[in-house]
């Protein structure tokens, strides 16, 4: 009984520590980011500051392009109910904001000539479409109405041929696959050694990107120094999590289902922690436009090439360590059969602690590279990545490190190549990952490299 109570206290201390950590780390981040807060009001509409006043003025406002990729210098025209028009040019943030003084149906349109090449306005749905393809907006005085004009890439692009597109997408797929592999190897090892599916794993990827933004962009550290610091910090969060949370819970004998719900709660708390302290905008580690290299049909940035080389080297290092070193063999032994490994004298707790540390450091590295090669990282980037990670890990075989590698590469290719099919629009590409997940579970539930054993 007293033993049990003692564990309860350990868990209590651990959880308090974790919550303290959760609160303190972002606070530190907050200190670093306050300077950037002025331009963070992404969610407040009407940057050109139209503020609705009851019975006096109303507003119609919106943003062209996404918040991450606003479209500047486009002419937006408002047609008033009495037929007069008013034109505004969007600023650097892509925002426009009209002040109105009468209730009624307004039409908002964009001059296609002023949009950047290769973009067009997506026609609004029929019930909201004006005579010339504008968007109808019902506005009232004293109210704020959003005019959501969606801008999409025009379908044609005369400069690329089919073959070029395929090789470009294949290259992007390889890049995504390598980045996913960094994170999914860790996820798979954690699953293998502890049996836990860590739903907060993708949040660690986001953490890597966020910390890199904080150190490199905000504090002005050199990328290399900042990156190494992020790696160390992310590894520390892994060590710390296992020390104060997962190990006490394991000792306490909490079931895996319950532990999974704990990871879910953790992921929710961390995710909104990012939103709370950093905001809901996309942050970038390096703001300058990267240097572009092209060889053959493939165009890419130097950052992407470096990121791919780094991932490949690190993955090879992890693979070598798993196969050839003592601690690597011990890890695989624990992954195979924890009880047997413990019986043969392996300190499983130590191995698991190491796995958590390395897995989180790898996830952090993946996050830095992801933030560098894509447009940046956002509080909910983890949401998208988690789905891909789980698909990759299941495809390769839950618990097998090399399976996770293979699975990630396959998922990377599929996600990037599926929009090439004529009937798959770009925003369906993640659905392809789910499809693979379901098919794998139906046909070969143990995954590509998993051992054929009863898994249910």
């Amino acid at each position: 009984m007293s033993r049990h109570a003692a564990h309860g206290r350990t868990v209590g201390r651990g959880v308090t520590g974790l919550i303290l950590g959760l609160l303190v780390t972002p606070l530190v981040m907050l200190l670093g980011t306050t300077s950037a807060y002025a331009d963070d009001e992404g969610d407040t509409p009407a940057a050109a500051s139209c503020l609705p006043k009851p019975d006096e003025v109303g507003c119609i406002s919106g943003t062209l392009g996404s918040r991450a990729d606003p479209i500047a210098d486009a002419d937006v025209t408002l047609t008033k109910p009495d037929g007069t028009t008013e034109t505004q040019t969007t600023g650097d943030d892509g925002k426009f904001s009209f002040t109105i003084t009468e209730d009624g149906e307004y039409l908002v349109g964009v001059d296609p000539e002023t949009l950047p090449d290769g973009f067009e306005v997506r026609p609004p749905p029929a019930n909201l479409r004006g005579p010339d393809g504008e968007l109808k907006v019902q506005a009232t005085v004293g109210g704020l109405r959003a005019a959501n004009l969606e801008i999409r890439s025009a379908d044609y692009d005369p400069s690329t041929s089919n073959w070029e597109e395929i090789s470009q997408s294949g290259f992007n797929g390889l890049r995504l696959g390598l980045l996913l592999a960094l994170a999914s190897v860790g996820l798979s090892l954690i699953y293998g050694t502890t049996g836990l599916s860590n739903f907060a794993h993708a949040e660690q990827v986001t953490l890597g990107g966020m910390l890199a933004y904080l150190f490199v962009n905000q504090q002005g550290m050199p990328l290399l120094v900042g990156g190494l610091l992020v790696l160390v910090l992310c590894g520390f969060t892994g060590w710390f999590q296992d020390r104060v949370l997962w190990q006490p819970l394991r000792r306490r004998g909490l079931g895996l289902t319950q532990m999974m719900i704990v990871t879910i709660g953790l992921s929710l708390a961390i995710q909104y922690g990012y939103q709370f302290f950093v905001g809901s905008r996309t942050v970038r580690v390096i703001v300058d436009n990267p240097t572009v290299t092209s060889f053959g049909p493939i165009t890419t940035t130097n950052q992407s090439l470096a990121a791919m080389v780094i991932s490949a080297v690190v993955l090879a290092g992890v693979g070598f360590a798993l196969l050839r070193t003592r601690i690597g063999r011990a890890t695989r032994a624990v992954s195979d059969n924890p009880a047997l490994a413990q019986a043969s004298g392996i300190d499983t707790d130590k191995v698991i602690r190491l796995v958590w540390t390395v897995a989180m450091a790898l996830a952090g590295l993946s996050g830095i590279l992801y933030a560098l090669v894509t447009n940046g990282i956002k509080w909910d980037t983890g949401l998208q990545i988690l789905l891909l990670l789980f698909a990759a890990v299941t495809l390769g075989g839950l618990g097998t490190a090399f399976g996770a590698l293979v699975g990630s590469l396959v998922i990377g290719f599929v996600v990037e190549m599926s929009p090439l099919l004529p009937f798959v629009p770009g925003d369906f590409k993640y659905a392809a990952a789910l499809l693979i997940l379901i098919v794998v579970l139906l046909v070969r539930p143990q995954g590509l490299l998993g051992k054929a054993q009863r898994v249910g």
């Binding site: 719900i261 299941t394 629009p425």
Partner: protein, 404 residues
């Protein structure tokens, strides 16, 4: 004082609101999945979203092939059927590949599928699909609400519950409210006292005492924080009453289901699948039935959730599922009344956190940040609940020792 009264009022209107009832129904479904059968479904929001889409789109567009006009009573009935049908198909798609495998595969597939349903809902890729779902902006309630509000017998105007409240005694003086709060807390303490068996009551007298005290507590709470609503409007009494009636009916249905032999089979699967198999039960079929039935409750919850709001994919994403889990674990998984109690306390508590941080920490957080802060608190509460009190308020710890 006024600030506290304001927070109390908004807590009360959130606790009694139709969306709370709607989430309670989804939680009842989740209770069948997680509480009784031990299925870790992390995609309950997708069942709700599919129910809502089926409901709203059918009402908005009608079904021309069957001669069902849009925005009619027939469309309303068809909408409910279509919404439930979508959830049924979704449950089959999720269940067939995963229910024969270890439990965490269901968790992985449900969380992924819920995300995909949300992506597809907000997709602008297919013109026809976009026309139906309205993309990320969703379908405004005004496009499908009419056939439901047309049924309202309540007419126009406003009503307050309770009509007789603190403002009628000594003009709502501070001492009236203070005395009221003391009485309210005393009654709730009395309920806990009786429920724990300390008052020497058992069986029917205990149940009657708890029911009586609960009604009394509700009256006192409404006296202290009256709720004023339109009779028929967007968020009015009609949709509120319907939502809570459906929640009550769902509770009774679940009560009968879990007392039946089928309900015992569910718990058998949760406790020991192999034992159930050796008794000749078809474990896969039982799990699938549980997944489908729980999903149907989710779909109904989704329909009621969007009646006073819009069908917006981003507002029915992962966080809604986590709300459901927190509410379920708060009230007590594998209990009859846990989902309803948990949802009420959860939503009132969330509004309390937002209200307090808006009122007293105004300089520290903007109103947007305080709702994000509430999300962080929800995540931490979920972790703490699972670790320290997995049985919640009403549950039995022994019922929740199951594992994947």
């Amino acid at each position: 004082m006024d600030e506290i009264q304001q927070i109390l009022n908004s807590m009360m209107s959130s606790a009694t609101g139709p969306q709370t009832a709607a989430v309670a129904i989804a939680v009842i479904g989740l209770n069948i999945h997680f509480g009784y059968t031990g299925l870790l479904n992390i995609g309950q929001s997708a069942f709700m979203l599919l129910g809502a889409y089926g409901f709203a789109i059918t009402i908005k567009e009608g079904i021309p092939a069957l001669g069902i006009e849009p925005l009619g009573f027939a469309a309303l009935v068809a909408g409910v059927i279509v919404g439930m049908g979508l959830a049924f198909i979704f449950a089959l798609i999720l269940g067939v590949p995963t229910l024969k495998l270890r439990g965490d595969y269901l968790a992985i597939v449900t969380i992924s599928a819920a995300e995909i349903v949300r992506y597809i809902g907000r997709s602008v890729g297919y013109e026809t699909l976009f026309g139906l779902t309205g993309g990320a902006q969703g379908i405004p309630g005004s496009q499908y609400r009419a056939p439901f509000t047309d049924l309202s017998p309540l007419g126009n105007g406003n009503s307050t519950l309770l009509e007789f409240n603190y403002t009628d005694v000594a003009d709502g003086a501070v001492w009236v409210r203070l005395v009221g709060w003391v009485i309210g807390i005393a009654i709730i303490a009395a309920i806990v006292h009786v429920a724990r068996g300390r008052a020497g009551l058992t069986g029917t007298p205990k149940r009657v005492a708890i029911a009586g005290l609960s009604v009394l507590a509700l009256v006192v709470l409404l006296f202290l924080a009256p709720v004023n609503n339109q009779n028929t409007g967007v968020n009015g009494w009609f949709v509120t009453i319907v939502a809570w009636c459906v929640a009550a009916i769902s509770t009774v249905v679940v009560l009968f289901l879990v007392k039946s032999p089928w309900g015992r089979a569910l718990r058998g699967v949760r406790e020991d699948e192999d034992a159930m198999r050796s008794l000749g039960k078809n474990v896969f079929a039982i799990k699938m039935q549980a997944l489908v039935i729980g999903g149907l409750f989710g779909a109904v919850g989704g329909m009621l959730y969007v009646l006073p709001a819009t069908v917006q994919p981003d507002s029915m994403g992962r966080s809604l599922t986590f709300f459901c889990y927190t509410a379920l674990l708060l009230g007590g998984a594998a209990t009859i009344w846990g989902p309803i109690l948990g949802s009420i306390i959860f939503f009132a508590g969330r509004i309390m956190i937002i209200g307090i941080s808006n009122t007293y920490f105004d300089g520290f957080m903007s109103s947007q940040e305080s709702s994000q802060f509430a999300f962080i608190v929800v995540g931490v509460v979920l972790m703490l609940l699972v670790i320290f009190r997995p049985q919640g308020i009403l549950g039995d710890k022994r019922e929740l020792r199951f594992n994947v």
